[in-house]
Symmetry: C2
Subunit: 154 residues, 2 copies
DNA sequence: TGCCAATCGGAACGAATCAGTCCGATTGGA
DNA sequence: TCCAATCGGACTGATTCGTTCCGATTGGCA
């Protein structure tokens, strides 16, 4: 029940990119230098985030990357899914794979998609713009789940 | 961003135990037979859940386990934390460990505890009693994050 | 128009964690 | 006092993750 290091790095890197949005075109090297993430790892992340459509990359001399969308419309869920793949707490969430021995008889399975949605919603409620705000924001440290839920967009 | 298999199994097993709460004293063998979880794994889970205080175990002949608390007061978060340890999305959530190279300069870190609380709240909002209800509960498949947030207890 | 430099994209290696299995220690009843 | 059944912890194998490296592609410049 934790974020992978790559996803963690991706959030930090996207946050850094958001602060330079529109001003300067970043590349994997500058992002690595600014965030402290090892260069090869930063390159890998840029690749994945570009494939997912969160970053726009231009190749060649003087190329680089920039946010494909405004920071407010990029959520933590987007970043996590871009790096780790779809958010699914259990394998029985998607109807395609049938690996669980219980399957139809399982009493828990019908509730899992709801739990999955709730967790994903918690991540979708936080945008890059939120992460770029002042760290000393009052109440941020004691953010309650209820208030987080209220911030879920439509 | 997924539950470990052990945590997944633990939820299924606790749900099975909840259905027999008060009626019959379960043990690792019967729980294994009922859920389809391999016996050694079920034993391991019983051990961890007992240590965490979610199950009460009695040893010796005719011994077994039973829920330590009513199903309504045992949440998914309790079970997950009993098996996987504390829920923390990133290592920088707890103030004790300082492994991140950014630390104080990190713009993202102050928000992470809030995100962590939101995700944990989503899991804390679901109790064992909820999982034992009828699977065909209306709307369960389309539970929205917003409605999940509203169900978060104080 | 050809060359060069800088970048992204994918593939391979090593390490760490996790899932699963087994055996010993403890306890209650006969 | 002995026996049987159970929980508790330690070990091994496999999978996944994180990191690193190299090749393919592209745009600028002479």
């Amino acid at each position: 029940m934790r974020l992978s290091s790559l996803a963690d790095y991706a959030v930090v890197m996207m946050s850094a990119a958001a602060r330079h949005c529109g001003l300067a075109k970043m590349n994997a090297t500058t992002l690595s230098a600014e965030t402290g993430i090892p260069l090869p790892t930063a390159q890998k992340l840029v690749s994945r985030l570009s494939t997912a459509g969160l970053l726009e990359s231009s190749r060649g001399t003087g190329g680089g990357v920039r946010l494909a969308r405004p920071p407010a419309s990029i959520s933590l869920a987007d970043i996590v899914e871009a790096v780790e793949g779809p958010i699914r707490m259990t394998t029985c969430v998607d109807a395609e794979r049938h690996e669980c021995a219980l399957e139809g008889a399982c009493q828990v399975r019908p509730h899992m998609s709801a739990v999955n949605g709730a967790v994903r919603g918690a991540l979708a409620a936080v945008s890059l713009a939120d992460l770029s705000r002042a760290p000393a924001q009052a109440g941020a440290q004691n953010w309650t789940p209820a208030s987080a839920g209220e911030q879920v967009p439509a």
